[in-house]
């Protein structure tokens, strides 16, 4: 039962757990289920949990074209990004202390890179074009003899823009530079093949793909092995790369969610493209709006729109019947408007007046009708209030 009167259009922030996934998770929590510690190989409860963890590992691996042994469980994409960036850079510090990334990366990447800078590394932050694209040529020009790592996100969390990670991966492989991809927004939405894309490290998370929050994974290439220095120390789980008791129910949820996402991806994408295009037509009808991000090279479930002539905080508040995310800094602890939109060259004012609508598996036709009506009504109302000023 939906206890909120809001229409949920914030699936890029997080998705609800698919009921089919939740059912599998519950089986791991109750006394009659696989509640044992997967590391307790000495009894049946532990062995049952271990079997489920390994099944989930295979499910996640299959979704991204990897082998099960390439998957390291983490607490989510933030930890995966930190482990990949800090772990690889520190391990290979003798090979060079230069890293290449982009200004529009997620904070989990940017803040990990800042930590590297504090440790004496140098980072080149590439500026995307006005559509949010980081061109592979920019990476080629930025890589130096002492570059040991390139980190680039697959799909941007604010604009939905898809980067050409395959071209960057191929270049990095040829140059012997490690390549990390933050795929938090693309796993389950786009076909992913780490081998074909020449990816060495890839961060994924469950809760953007109808799995639970609090679990993710890092793909780690094994042949030849990518050296990683752990950032967590303890029981030596996950081949010593990531210590900590494995959360069976979370991991099972992630495996199930990725399996469902892979099986239903084509149908989901087709349905969401129709809904998103209809939402865009309805929003564009109010006039004086800008689509943020590349018009074609983007995922099908996301729209980021700036509204001219409307103040950001008023827009958010007027549309509070819609659960969306905003580029405005007014209601957040941050003092700057969306740094991603600013990096695309949007003015502070337009970045403030932006909203991200992200659709998902449970978004209905009726939700889109409500969203279009609300946007048209409130944007026109607010514009009339300030007309002529």
């Amino acid at each position: 039962m939906n206890t909120c009167s809001c229409v949920y259009l914030d699936n890029a922030a997080t998705t609800p757990v698919d009921p089919r996934v939740a059912e599998r998770m519950i089986e791991c929590l109750v006394p009659t289920g696989a509640h044992g510690n997967p590391s307790s190989a000495g009894h049946e409860f532990g062995r049952r949990a271990r079997a489920l963890v390994e099944k989930a590992r295979a499910q996640v691996a299959a979704t991204i074209g990897a082998r099960p042994e390439n998957i390291v469980w983490t607490s989510g994409a933030t930890e995966s990004d930190n482990l990949a960036i800090l772990g690889a850079a520190r391990f290979h510090a003798d090979r060079g202390r230069h890293v290449v990334s982009a200004k529009t990366e997620h904070k989990a990447v940017l803040d990990a890179l800042k930590q590297l800078e504090r440790e004496g590394f140098e980072v080149t932050y590439l500026k995307p074009d006005a559509h949010g694209i980081v061109h592979p040529q920019q990476v080629k020009e930025a890589v130096r003899t002492d570059t040991q790592l390139v980190s680039l996100m697959h799909v941007n969390n604010e604009t939905g823009v898809i980067q050409d990670v395959g071209a960057v991966g191929q270049f990095c492989r040829e140059r012997g530079v490690l390549f990390h991809v933050d795929a938090a927004q693309s796993a389950g939405k786009l076909p992913l093949d780490v081998e074909a894309l020449c990816i060495d490290l890839m961060s994924v998370t469950a809760h953007k793909a109808y799995g639970p929050k609090g679990v993710g994974a890092l793909y780690v290439r094994r042949k030849p092995p990518v050296g990683l220095r752990p950032i967590l120390h303890g029981g030596g789980q996950e081949s010593g790369i990531r210590s900590g008791t494995l959360a069976t129910h979370q991991i099972v949820g992630m495996g199930a969610a990725f399996e469902v996402a892979a099986a239903e991806r084509d149908a989901d994408v087709s349905r969401l493209r129709v809904l998103r295009d209809r939402l865009w037509q309805g929003i564009a009808a109010v006039g004086d709006v800008e689509l943020n991000g590349h018009p074609e090279q983007r995922v099908t479930n996301l729209l980021n729109v700036s509204f001219h002539g409307v103040e950001g905080e008023s827009l958010q508040f007027a549309l509070r019947e819609l659960a969306v995310s905003a580029g405005s800094a007014c209601s957040s602890a941050s003092e700057e408007a969306s740094y991603v939109l600013r990096a695309l060259g949007r003015s502070d004012q337009l970045a403030q007046s932006s909203l991200r609508f992200s659709l998902g598996r449970f978004t209905t036709n009726e939700d889109i009708d409500v969203a279009i009506a609300a946007v048209q009504r409130e944007v026109q109302r607010l514009r009339q209030l300030g007309q002529g000023l």
Binding site: E311, S314, L322, S325, S338, R356, G386, Q387, G388
Partner: protein, 135 residues
């Protein structure tokens, strides 16, 4: 990106009421008994225009009616709407002495937003000056 939150303590009931149902929105056509004052820029986050019809063009006249237009956050819009009711009946002297503190207290606007109310006060000052020049 920040999640858009439901109405919380940052918006008082009176702010929500005036934001959703702003009173006296608009602008009077220029006329001998109409005065107007504006302040702010969009880059500053708030713009206000106040226009008023005076009771008579004599020194002790009062404001008969007010219209406002506003670009800004919900607090700004609510403050402009609240003021459009408050200024009815004001004399020139009362208008000259009006302070943003009155609307801040009446609508429970948080301290971090009070800077924008200074822009509204500037619009009132401009209205007052227009009145002075019209006499």
């Amino acid at each position: 990106m920040t999640a858009v939150t439901s109405p919380g303590p940052e918006y008082s009931d009176i702010v929500v009421d005036h934001f959703e149902r702003p009173r006296n929105v608009g602008r009077f056509e220029p006329a001998a008994d109409v005065i107007e004052g504006s302040a702010g820029r969009r880059e500053q986050g708030a713009v206000f225009t106040l226009s008023a019809i005076l009771s008579a063009r004599v020194a002790d006249s009062f404001i008969k009616s007010v219209r406002f237009k506003a670009y800004g956050c919900p607090h700004c819009i609510a403050a402009g709407s609240w003021l459009s009711e408050r200024l009815v009946g004001c004399t020139q002297d009362e208008l000259q002495r009006w302070s943003w503190r009155e609307v801040a207290a009446a609508t429970d606007i948080p301290p971090e937003k009070r800077g924008r109310l200074l822009i509204l006060e500037d619009a009132v000052r401009a209205l007052s000056e227009a009145w002075r020049l019209s006499v």
